[in-house]
Amino acid sequence: MALTTAPDPTRRGTGSVRPPATRRGTGRIRHGEGLAGYVFLSPWLIGLMGITAIPMLLSLYLSFTNYDILTPWSEVEWVGLANYERMFTSDPSWWHSVRVTLSFALIAVPLKLAAALGVALLLNRAWRGVGLFRGLFYLPSLLGGSVALAIVWVSMFNREGAFNSFLALFGIEGKPWVNDPDWALETLMVLAIWQFGAPMVIFLAGLKQVPTELYEAAAVDGASTFRQFVNVTLPMLSPVIFFNLVLETINGFQGFTAAFVLSNGTGGPVDSTLMYTLNLYITGFTDLEMGYASAMAWVFLIAIAIITVIFFSTGRFWVHYSDGEDR
């Protein structure tokens, strides 16, 4: 702990401070070594520039134009802020997709994290066959945002689907879940929550890091299991919770595949599954309004960045790093 708690006047409060020894060393790097460094970096650097940075900057430029994919670049017209203006003032479907995405993320992300943490707590105990269950619970996440999974979901939750047959066993009459505008988005939420394997594995790793001495000490002091969870597990786990929260929120906002497959790429029924990214895709590729779609993408990027910043700035009040630096 001595390393990170060493006072550092330039970067107070950040955790990625390098030990002073390394920093002094950088001054001595000769030109040849610098070049070698860049050579070693190049696979990543070329990828970053070519596949991420340059297209991103191009799309920033396009967001101020009326680019429609088919027209050659040379004939594209600069329209200033018109795309951004249209988004906020005269595009009801944009606002609608914002609402759909927000309600998706606000409901699915907390439930997914709760499910992941709950199952991780169960699987953190030593009992026979626990390894098998860890594998089984992780399995849905391996399938990820796959098209195949979304197709299975559609056939499970339509009128004749397996889920309604299951309900029928109890005499409950089901609904055409995926084809009902009141339930289609909820069906997608269930799919997202069901894939809690990835945060679960991270929670499990986090739980393993909590020193058993703390529980022993708490038990000696007479803390109940619930008190131990609230006062030991949660604080010790808070960095992992924070990590999962940020990551899953970003994932939640970007949900695309399932909505695309479920609605045949339309966002239907009646726009109930018109997630932001799906709306963006339709605008860009079907309606051929790529300039406008680029503007939508940038507003989206900025919105996610703002939400992430909010997470980070509130994190200091509840995220506890056990290496001694309270933030």
Binding site: P55, S59, Q209, P235, L247, N264, F285, T286
Partner: protein, 444 residues
């Protein structure tokens, strides 16, 4: 320091891991935040032409059967012109136009591509398609045997943007087996819309299978109905109808739903997909579907039942000789002359046309159309040829090719129609919503 941090841990394990873990988590976070949300991958590729040999790229949508027929026809061209070979790409209809647009944006569009009237104006208005008038004038592209209205249906702003690859028209496909089994009459061309709904109600009551798909969200049914009211989908660069027209159309189908002539809204929604395999007449969820006549053989493959096909209800002269799809040439193609020759071959060469059959609709070349129909053996194909030839005598004048923004208008009709079908809006509200959104869509 947190008070809980143990200070007496003897080994270095717990000393090191929190730091590592924290670094690791931060690193992962940074990576996640920086993930490319924005940006499109650029396509790359080069075509190298050398020693007089030419390779043309050609792109179409369709199923397995169409791919086989088209490949055979193109191979035939190569046989006759050994210097010309093809890079053939095809895929299902869904996603086809996304791909075509992306290829165009990437500077790598196919020399020849298949396109339909939903997108022809979008592409022609942006000069993505080559004006084929000069090949038509020079005779390299022979359209003299085409029905004039079919040829005209490929003209946008005075430019020949696409050559009809086949002719078709709207077709109401019904489940013959179901009707005969229950002793119900088959529908006939010329029934009014009211009669159709009454017939469908009767079918629902007797068989338990909803009599007809509700086509209120289907632009082609709406279009035919509009033309029977003396209106049209488009008039110049404006809409050819008013909110009152749409209200009447939605009310007609609300009446049908209330009478039990149609399936419940979620099933209607399933049938609103353009996918042939999802049409309710083949999934058994309705006795009738609203399709194109040339889709008959493909529909037949998806059901064991006998199918019949007639015109949409009302006066059949509201229907027209529609180009089921076109062949277009990319404006920047380096081999435009050869591309035009290939298209000429595909629509006018007797052998090629015979190979292609009626997969893309009736042959555009009237002389060859007769030859193909005489040779047809597949019963479903024969049936569609018979119905189309019969209807061809009743066809009215072709409307103008749908204008730029049409694909969005279509999507808006689905949205508004379904809003009414699910009972979330009254016909008048849904109609107002549709007209407003459509005006915005065609405005730009």
């Amino acid at each position: 320091m947190h008070p809980a941090t143990p200070t007496s841990v003897p080994d270095g394990r717990t000393y090191r891991t929190p730091l590592l873990r924290r670094r690791f988590l931060r690193g992962l976070l940074a990576a996640a935040v920086a993930l490319p949300l924005v940006g499109a991958a650029a396509a790359c590729g080069d075509d190298a032409a050398s020693d007089g040999k030419v390779k043309l790229s050609i792109f179409w949508w369709g199923g397995e059967a169409r791919a086989q027929l088209t490949e055979q026809a193109l191979d035939l061209y190569t046989k006759k012109n050994p210097d010309v070979t093809f890079e053939k790409t095809w895929q299902a209809n869904q996603g086809y136009f996304d791909k075509l647009a992306t290829l165009t944006a990437g500077g790598n569009p196919p020399d020849i591509f298949q396109i339909d009237d939903n997108f022809l104006a979008e592409y022609a208005a942006r000069n993505t398609t080559l004006d084929l008038n000069k090949y038509q004038d020079s005779g390299d592209l022979d359209t003299s045997k085409f029905p004039p209205s079919l040829l005209q249906y490929g003209v946008v702003d005075g430019k020949l943007a696409g050559v009809a690859a086949g002719e078709n028209t709207q077709g109401l496909v019904y489940n013959k087996t179901l009707l005969t089994k229950n002793g119900l009459p088959e529908p006939t061309t010329g029934m009014s819309w009211e009669e159709h709904v009454a017939w469908a109600e009767q079918v629902s009551k007797k068989t338990g299978v909803p009599g007809t798909q509700d086509p209120s969200a289907d632009y082609k049914a709406f279009w035919v109905w509009l033309r029977q009211q003396g209106k049209d989908l488009y008039a110049g660069s404006d809409l050819g109808f008013t909110a009152e027209d749409v209200t009447r159309w939605f009310e007609l189908w609300k009446g049908a739903r209330d009478r039990g002539a149609t399936p419940p809204p979620d099933v209607i929604h399933e049938g609103n997909a353009t996918d042939i395999t999802k049409q309710l007449v083949v999934t058994g969820k309705a006795a009738t579907s609203w399709v194109w006549v040339n889709q008959m053989p493909e529909l037949k493959k998806n059901t064991a039942d006998e199918l019949g096909v007639i015109a949409y209800p009302g006066d059949p002269s509201a229907q027209w000789a529609r180009a089921s799809m076109y062949w277009s040439v990319f404006r920047g193609s380096k081999h435009a002359d050869i591309a035009a020759d290939v298209i000429n071959f595909l629509v006018n060469d007797p052998e090629a046309v015979k190979l292609l059959g009626t997969d893309r609709g009736l042959s555009s070349n009237l002389d060859l159309r007769r030859v193909v129909s005489d040779d047809a053996t597949d019963p479903a194909m024969k049936q569609s040829i018979a119905v189309e030839s019969e209807l061809a005598e009743k066809f009215g004048e072709s409307p103008q090719v749908p204008i730029k923004g049409h694909s969005k208008v279509k999507a808006e009709l689905v949205k508004a129609g379904e809003n009414a079908q699910y009972g979330r809006a009254t016909p008048a509200e849904a109609a107002a919503q549709f007209v407003e959104a459509s005006k915005a869509a065609i405005a730009s």
